[in-house]
């Protein structure tokens, strides 16, 4: 875990001022936490820029499920690494359903995955399994 006490002093100051919650999110920001994207699915207009922001302690990456783009690559390894505090942004110019995943904590369709729905396109969320 890296820098768990970041904003430590500021937390105290904010608490002292009665303004404890500084966690408001921009609508187009996807939080990368351990080991999940939050929110998992977002719907944005065509031309939007989506920002992935890492608040996780683990290493992550953001890679298109079809391999067409990724947040960070590596000269030496198969994938690059996003660490806590890093940001990555991508602009979606065409309508469609864009699925992505973290290669360290999922496959291209299971585990730590997410979806960006761009524009007015049909999309049905995966049906959750029901265990009887």
């Amino acid at each position: 875990m890296k820098k768990v006490l970041s904003l430590f002093i500021f937390s105290i100051l904010l608490l002292a001022c009665g303004a404890g919650d500084a966690s408001s999110e921009e609508p187009l920001v996807i939080r990368i936490v351990d080991d999940e994207f939050s929110p998992k699915v977002i719907n944005v207009p065509v031309g939007s820029t989506v920002i992935w922001e890492s608040g996780g302690s683990n290493n992550h990456n953001v890679i298109a499920s079809d391999g067409s783009w990724q947040a960070i690559s590596s000269d030496y390894f198969e994938y690059g690494i996003i660490t806590k505090g890093d940001q990555y942004e991508y602009t979606f110019e065409e309508p469609g359903v864009y699925e992505y995943y973290c290669p360290y904590h999922g496959t291209n369709n299971k585990g730590m995955v997410g979806t960006v729905i761009v524009g007015d396109v049909e999309y049905s969320a995966p049906v959750e399994k029901v265990v009887v």
């Binding site: 875990m1 500021f10 585990g111």
Partner: protein
């Protein structure tokens, strides 16, 4: 059944898994399998024929050994997993998971790791050489999971469980020779905080002072501690033997991440906690309501009279004091800041997990029929914790031999013989300086009351009482809205300037130490 090995149906585990249907058994014969296995078929059983000679090896170039994604009921049994850059065996999004008789070692993150997964069991696992925890369960509520009969040693943390709880039981495990023992926690780096309602009972927690274990920064913060419950709600810590830790035996503390979490309703009962370097039992402030300590065998506590002032019986009797929303002072918070700052300023050897000594051979699982699958279905039950006792039977040597912690004299949370610069700055300056300022303001007020002709008779004594009896606010009221004749410039310098200087130095300390 699908069989893997030399001259068998499949040469690799992944090939067998890819061919398996729901409910199948994949039986693996001895060999070193240099592969990473991904499982997305429900209710598989992955079983080695020999725990010590069926080895999945990542050669430090693959991330996860066996990874199970959004897949229910997968059991992994009787094999070894080593040398992966992240996790040994990893479940993500599973209802039903089982890791039994696994030897996981020298992986770069966790040994066995269940995230967002419920209804599972980890039993008879041996985990060593991980820079995070040997066993981890994260982000589940209720978890409905059991962790028992495991031996976990030589890791940064024995157990870690972030934002996990609810019918989560850790019992009859041995956590020894890690950097710290059992550390459930609350963090904003996972969803659904806080962590809560974990029962830690009848464990042997001993000698967790291994400063040569692989570690990340969090491990450094908690080093030398037996059981740490930071920012937790409703955990029960009962009937554990916790011996020989350089810092604390059992400590409940606040947790600072993006937000601040307070421990509340944590019960610490009937443990044997001895030979701790700082104190055996500790409650670090500020803390929330309902924490209680009762019937423990121990020698030292922080704060003093912990069991007397915070005993569980008084909670049951609606003790008003125990229901105050925030209690304690910020010394615990400053102590944490000092530990975190120390951790930020230490060099980490990120390759240490690769070189950690390998474990000796471990006991194999026994089977009535090794070809019968055992998927992870309906595994959870509520253990009969009322019948559990202090686990003397897990101690394999004379208990007296374990008493060897380096004893430390503590004043205001600072170890006197060997404080680090950050501990001094946070715990002495950060904690005590406001009291120094308070004393200075009070002295100024007393001087003024003695010489101020505008205040006389009864009013003088009224103000004197206010200054003495209402900490901080009384003296501030005297100077800011009372009859103080001290010049405005002097007052602003003493009060505003003092506070501002304090905050600036504290912020600078946080920045320089790397906390911010």
């Amino acid at each position: 059944m699908l069989e893997v090995g030399d001259n068998k149906q499949f040469n690799t585990i992944q090939e067998a898994v890819d061919s398996a249907l729901e409910g199948d058994l994949v039986l693996i014969n001895p060999g070193v399998y240099n592969e990473s296995v991904t499982i997305t078929t429900d209710y598989l059983t992955i079983r080695g024929t020999n725990r010590n000679s069926v080895i999945v090896d990542g050669e430090f170039m693959r991330e996860n050994g066996i990874q199970i994604y959004d897949t229910d009921g997968v059991s992994v049994e009787n094999l070894s997993v080593r040398n992966f850059s992240l996790n040994g065996v990893y479940w993500n999004g599973s209802k039903g998971f089982k890791g039994s008789y696994l030897t996981v070692y020298n992986n770069g993150d966790y040994g066995v790791y269940a995230f967002d997964s419920t209804d599972g069991v980890f039993d008879n696992i041996y985990a060593s050489g991980h820079p995070d925890s040997g066993i981890y369960i994260g982000q589940c509520y209720p978890c409905n999971s059991l962790i028992y009969d495991n031996v976990v040693e030589g890791n940064a943390l024995g157990y870690s469980g972030t934002n996990a709880g609810g019918h989560l039981y850790l019992y009859r495990n041995i956590w020894r020779d890690n950097m710290s023992g059992i550390v459930p926690n609350t963090l904003d780096s996972e969803l659904n905080p806080p962590g809560r309602e974990t029962t830690i009972i009848s464990n042997l927690v001993v000698d967790n002072n291994n400063y040569d274990a692989p570690t990340n920064r969090f491990g450094l913060v908690a080093r030398g501690m037996g059981i740490v419950v930071p920012g937790r709600v409703g955990d029960i810590i009962e009937k554990n033997i916790v011996i020989n830790h350089d810092k604390y035996g059992i400590v409940a503390s606040p947790m600072l991440d993006a937000k601040l979490y307070f421990s509340q309703h944590v019960q610490v009962k009937e443990n044997l906690v001895l030979d701790s370097g700082y104190t055996d039992l500790a409650l670090a402030g500020p803390w929330g309501p309902g924490n209680c300590y009762e019937d423990n065998i121990y020698q030292t506590s922080t704060p003093p009279l912990l069991e007397q002032l915070h005993n569980c019986s008084s909670l049951e009797n609606d003790n008003l004091f125990s229901r105050f929303p925030l209690q304690g002072d910020v010394s615990g918070l400053m102590m944490l800041a000092g530990f975190f700052a120390d951790a930020q300023n230490e060099e980490l050897d990120k390759n240490r997990y690769k070189e950690y000594p390998w474990p000796k051979e471990q006991l194999n699982m026994t089977f009535d029929n090794i070809k019968t699958p055992s998927p992870a279905i309906n595994l959870f039950y509520v253990p009969s914790i009322d019948t559990m006792e202090l686990p003397y039977d897990l101690v394999d040597e004379d208990l007296n031999n374990l008493f060897e912690a380096k004893k430390e004299i503590i004043m205001s949370g600072v170890p006197i013989s060997s404080p680090s610069i950050w501990q001094l700055l946070f715990q002495l300056y950060g904690y005590l300086m406001p009291f120094v300022l308070y004393a200075a303001w009070t002295a100024l007020a007393l001087y003024d009351l003695n010489t101020n002709n505008q205040v006389s008779g009864g009013r003088r004594y009224m103000w004197l009482a206010l200054v003495f009896l209402v900490p901080f606010f009384g003296v501030l009221a005297y100077h800011l809205v009372g009859p103080s004749s001290i010049s405005k410039t002097m007052k602003y310098a003493a009060i505003g300037g003092g506070l501002l200087s304090y905050l600036i130095i504290l912020i600078l300390t946080a920045v320089i130490s790397g906390l911010v």
